[in-house]
Symmetry: none
Subunit: 210 residues, 2 copies
DNA sequence: TACAAAATCACATCATTATGTAGGTTAAAG
DNA sequence: CTTTAACCTACATAATGATGTGATTTTGTA
């Protein structure tokens, strides 16, 4: 019997999920919550094998919930269940420790299948997601070894910014248009999964020392 | 005979400076230029004892000129001659290696006096400037020893920013208003003589390691 | 106590950055 | 010879950061 707990702030959807899970012969619902603020206490009590976690919830995001959960109950498998498929959330969810990432639009049947899959050691995810993850993994693997996957130009620009230069100064230094600088930085952010110069600098400089 | 070279992009002013300097019995003009791009070559040729340098010049700023000059000809004395008296330029000029900093509005006589003064080991500067420099020195001395003069709070905030946090995140972290963060950062910038987070981070982290 | 420095908050305004969209060039890889 | 990756440019809008001004409170110390 697979024990499953649900975290989903939408009441209707949470109930639907619950009944669908109960309907499965080999799965039992041990907990169902509208937020994940008390996720640690709940898990202590419920002892679920698998947790279905929505990303966007009031109070505490699913990402944070996953992070906490994995830290204290590393054996618990987590499947993110969300409407979002943007790179960022996926990346965050994966690095936070989720083993599955399924889109709500793909329906309940797939989610049930995902629960079984995750118990067999798999990593269930919607096709759309799978592709993104593969790509990210490819970038990541290539990158971490050398310079996080940044092209020489991109790295050069980040390093200039790290010295305290503004976009304008970098543009002048490299004899490029400021729009070009923007463009490079934009791609850099995507590769590093960040949203500001300081984050990018932090990431690049941290990875550098070793 | 004191050998002097002039770098000043305003033609009229450069000529006026030249004649005023030639008029002085113990000073000879060995070079006069409208820019400082070729300052190293010129200096090699002219071998001036003192260089009068304007700050704002096309191609290469006087600050950069001073930096280069001091690196290759440390014995050459440099007097900045400019219309600006804002803290920043003064600070930059001083740290770049200028030994005198005189305002154009104070006239040619004072500049001539400054040339003599600098040759006697002095540091000629207009009264307005002198006061600012004293203040900067006071701040600087107190600071360089520990953490550049930053208060504990200010340092804390810069370090949080260095980790890639935004103002908003820092405010949440420290349970403060975002305006308070702004306020601290503003003071920090004044103390460090910078104008952006990245510059501040760079400066703080550089000074830290040693 | 009275002054100075640190810390807090607010509001306004301008500058810079971040993000989206879109297109072009060039050089290596298949 | 086409595909891919890196590089370059442009324009528009939204979000964040930078700067100025002003004010209150606390704390350490002259």
């Amino acid at each position: 019997m697979i024990k499953v707990a649900i975290y989903e702030d939408n009441d209707g959807l949470r109930e639907a999920l619950g009944t669908a899970i109960e309907a499965a012969k080999d799965i039992s619902l041990v907990g169902s919550y509208g937020h994940c603020v008390t996720v640690l206490d709940n898990t202590q009590k419920d002892k679920p094998d698998v947790v279905i976690m929505d990303i966007d919830m009031p109070g505490k995001s699913g990402i944070e919930g996953v992070r906490d959960l994995k830290k204290h109950f590393p054996a618990t498998e987590i499947i993110m269940n969300t409407v979002f498929d943007d790179d960022d959330r996926i990346y965050q969810a994966i690095t936070a420790g989720a083993t599955g990432y399924m889109l709500k639009r793909n329906g309940l049947q797939e989610l049930i299948a995902g629960i079984h899959e995750v118990m067999k050691g798999g990593a269930p995810m919607s096709p759309t997601i799978a592709r993104k993850v593969m790509k990210a993994a490819a970038n990541g693997d290539k990158g971490t070894s050398q310079n996080l996957g940044l092209s020489p130009r991109e790295l050069e620009i980040i390093q200039l910014l790290a010295k305290g230069n503004s976009y304008k100064m970098v543009a002048q230094d490299l004899n490029l248009s400021i729009d070009t600088i923007r463009s490079h930085i934009k791609k850099t952010y995507e590769k590093l999964h960040v949203h500001s110069v300081t984050e990018a600098i932090h990431k690049v400089l941290i990875e550098k020392r070793h």
